[in-house]
């Protein structure tokens, strides 16, 4: 292990954090359990939730605390109650600790005090738990439906254990069941344009409330891509099969999800992964980061109107895709990660291929970066646009380059070293300006860091097996698995079950924490910049398909397609 990793994972450092929390809330804590190396579950009563969580997240001395995920589970077959766990992590290179603040909620009184007034980052988590399990957050500022489709009946909660995973109850689509968008700021009339519109076609519906050209507020309706993956994973698939559905959660960060899941199960089941497998996983994760960042930078150029940059970025990216195809058999769904290791080995000729491609990529990318960052159009269009302040980024628990561009010094590879990162040296680029340019620079630097990481990993790759044999994983063990996907921290929670299956699986993709911060970043910018700001958050591509623009002054509604918005954005570059 490298020295920096040793410092972060030091036992004494971890114990200091844990002991301080235990000391402070001595009389409120029911039980403390250390379920993995760096994870502690602390059980309290539900009334104490806001206090304990507020204390840890807003602690004056602990750097970069983060609400990593929140899980609701139906533990009635086990303990007769529902459970709720808020997972909070310490970051900023100050110690590798995850706190799981757990509480039980009985079926007769399925309410709990909402944490959102204290920490807005809990907003989406509590709405999701209300949708899928029926646990009601009291005091939540915005308890609208989040996840389930509009034609899903009230009072039916899919993640409860008495709901069969293939059931699909419907209800009539009427005026009352239409999605309740927020009222626009006063002084306007709204043209009601429901989810049915002849031109409306799908995932990610935004409403921009504008005054002239300036964005005043944003509302959205997402989760068109909710596919019930967690329920399928808990019922139909065995441990090893879940890796494959995890890869298909997202079209770009597939391996990151599969890796987070595999690590969660390995932590829960005490499966030790051979060193060579850890290195191979690291190399695959970095290759994924390369192609994802190149995609995003290319799109940013395209939105600005700088098509030469766009085409060049994609030309560089294609070589990474071909490399992935020769290493794993597919350009995107690598199918490499299984519980206990990886499925394919790096033979010598494959290693040489990787070395050749990344060497050429480094040269090509440096040329691209020089060319793009000296293009006045690009720089001027991105500077000062879509600023997200550090305070906002922390309030919403943002992750990834979106947060690192705003000054949050937080990277799961460094702060919770997993796979082979603890044996490697790398930097984490952080910029303070918080605008689109800062995020582009973060991504550009990360590409060069990734190339360096891959070189180190290939150099030091040890021999040995690539897969560990494991026979049985004990049931009802809980653990959290985490990776740094290209978009940010990716956290999966598992509770193992019986019969080679999971009991509970909770996926938290990185964009989940970033999206709610979008209105804050978009306020005050012009409509032409909307696409650029959304692209700099790097959401899963199709979330930005459709935007509705409501003019607060005239009350007129224009519907702009993605193409039209992009045109608007590109035209604005002419004035620069």
């Amino acid at each position: 292990m490298k020295e920096w990793a040793r410092k972060i994972t030091d036992e004494k450092v971890r114990e200091r954090y844990v002991n301080e929390v235990i000391e402070r809330f001595r009389d409120k804590i029911i039980r403390v359990e250390r379920n993995a190396d760096n994870q502690w579950i602390i059980e309290i009563r539900k009334e104490d939730l806001p206090e304990v969580i507020g204390y840890i997240i807003n602690h004056p001395e602990w750097k970069e605390t983060q609400l990593s995920t929140m899980v609701g589970a139906d533990e009635r077959p086990l303990r007769g109650k529902f459970s709720l766990i808020y997972w909070i992590s310490i970051n900023g290179a100050s110690g590798d600790v995850f706190f799981g603040i757990k509480t039980y909620i009985s079926e007769d009184d399925p309410k709990f005090p909402s944490v959102t007034p204290i920490h807005p980052g809990a907003n989406w988590y509590e709405r999701e738990v209300k949708d899928l399990l029926g646990l009601i957050p009291e005091g939540h500022p915005d308890p609208r439906r989040l996840v389930l489709p509009d034609d899903w009946p009230e009072g039916v909660y899919p993640l409860r254990k008495d709901f069969h995973y293939t059931d699909s109850p419907r209800r009539e689509f009427t005026d009352e069941t239409k999605y309740p968008y927020r009222e626009p700021p006063k002084g306007t009339a709204v043209f009601p344009l429901g989810p049915y519109h002849v031109a409306l076609d799908e995932p990610g519906h935004f409403r921009l409330y504008v005054k002239g050209e300036e964005i005043v507020d944003v509302d959205y309706r997402l989760f068109y891509q909710h596919r019930g993956i967690e329920k399928i994973g808990e019922n139909r698939l065995t441990y090893d099969q879940v890796n494959f559905i995890a890869e298909r959660i997202c079209g770009i960060c597939g391996t990151a999800h599969a890796l987070a899941y595999a690590q969660a199960v390995e932590a829960a089941g005490d499966v030790e992964v051979p060193e060579r497998a850890e290195y191979i996983r690291t190399v695959m994760a970095e290759i994924e980061r390369l192609h994802s960042h190149l995609l995003n930078l290319g799109l940013a150029c395209h939105d600005v109107g700088f098509d030469k940059g766009f085409m060049d970025a994609f030309r560089l990216r294609e070589h990474v895709m071909w490399l992935a195809e020769r290493l794993t058999g597919n350009r995107k769904t690598y199918g490499m990660v299984v519980i206990g290791g990886v499925r394919r080995d790096f033979l010598e000729y494959r290693r040489s291929m990787i070395e050749k491609v990344i060497r050429e990529l480094r040269e090509g990318f440096q040329k691209w970066a020089d060319q793009t960052l000296s293009t006045k159009t690009f720089v001027k269009r991105c500077e000062g646009v879509g600023v997200l302040s550090y305070k906002d980024a922390k309030r919403w628990s943002s992750v990834g380059p979106w947060a690192r561009g705003s000054g949050r010094d937080f990277d799961a590879r460094r702060d919770h070293p997993f796979a082979a990162y603890k044996y490697l040296d790398f930097k984490v680029p952080v910029y303070k300006e918080g605008d689109v340019l800062a995020r582009c620079l973060v991504r550009a630097e990360e590409i060069l860091e990734s190339i360096w990481i891959i070189e180190q990993a290939l150099d030091e790759m040890p021999g040995g097996d690539i897969l560990a044999e494991w026979k049985e994983i004990p049931p009802y063990q809980e653990a959290v698995g985490f990776t740094e996907a290209p978009r940010g921290e990716d956290v999966h929670y598992v509770m193992t079950g019986e019969g080679n299956r999971l009991y509970r699986w909770r996926i938290r993709a990185s964009t989940y924490n970033n999206f709610p911060a979008l209105p804050d970043a978009m306020r005050g910018n012009s409509v032409a910049d909307a696409v650029l700001i959304i692209a700099s958050m790097d959401p899963c591509y199709s979330c930005t398909e459709r935007v509705q623009v409501v003019d607060a002054r005239s009350g007129k509604v224009r519907v702009l397609t993605e193409k039209e918005l992009t045109e608007l954005s590109r035209k604005a570059s002419r004035g620069v």
């Binding site: 698939l237 090893d240 099969q241 494959f244 559905i245 298909r248 030309r315 195809e325 020769r326 290493l327 794993t328 058999g329 597919n330 769904t333 199918g335 499925r343």
Partner: protein, 165 residues
């Protein structure tokens, strides 16, 4: 400098490591169903007909996510990932491959067992020579479970009679 590949007007082959659509070699398949258990997307089905005494292993390439778990699981190497990717069609029936095998029939009672004749042959091939009494094994292996149990009980009764006498 032209970079565009001339595909589909020239023939192109995927790289040797590519995971294309799977294909079942019907001469090697023993109908064990290991691939059916392994498939995460349920693209493989095992359909038993105890009236006609057949087992069908059905592969639908349009449901396949090409993860290669079936390839990993198959004990005889019958189902293999090919490098074929040109499987677009207008008719979904073109995506279906069926292997129909005979279920083994118990010579004693005449009922169909839940394994195929080929699976039985394969199991006997795996059986190590000289470890067990080959003839006794073969006598029992061709019976169905119920008849086997009956035979064991009958043998035990016979043996106990000999002791008593």
């Amino acid at each position: 400098m032209a970079v565009t590949l001339k595909y589909p007007f020239v023939k192109i082959e995927a790289p040797p490591e590519y995971r294309g659509v799977p294909h079942i070699n019907p001469r090697l398949c023993i109908g064990c169903g290991a691939c059916v258990n392994a498939c995460p997307a349920d693209a493989l089905l095992r359909i038993d007909d105890y009236e006609r005494g057949t087992r069908k292993i059905v592969l639908d390439v349009g449901r396949c996510i090409r993860c290669a778990r079936c390839d990993e699981a198959c004990p005889t190497g019958a189902i293999r990932m090919t490098r074929n990717f040109e499987v677009a069609t207008l008719d979904r029936k073109d995506h279906v491959e069926v292997v129909e095998l005979r279920l083994h029939r118990c010579p004693n009672c005449g009922n169909y067992t839940d394994y195929t004749e080929r699976a039985l042959e394969k199991a006997l091939q795996i059986l190590p020579e000289g470890l067990f009494d080959g003839d006794e094994i073969r006598k029992r292996a061709i019976l169905c479970r119920n008849c086997r149990r009956k035979l064991t009980v009958d043998d035990a009764v016979e043996a106990s009679r000999e002791v008593v006498e």
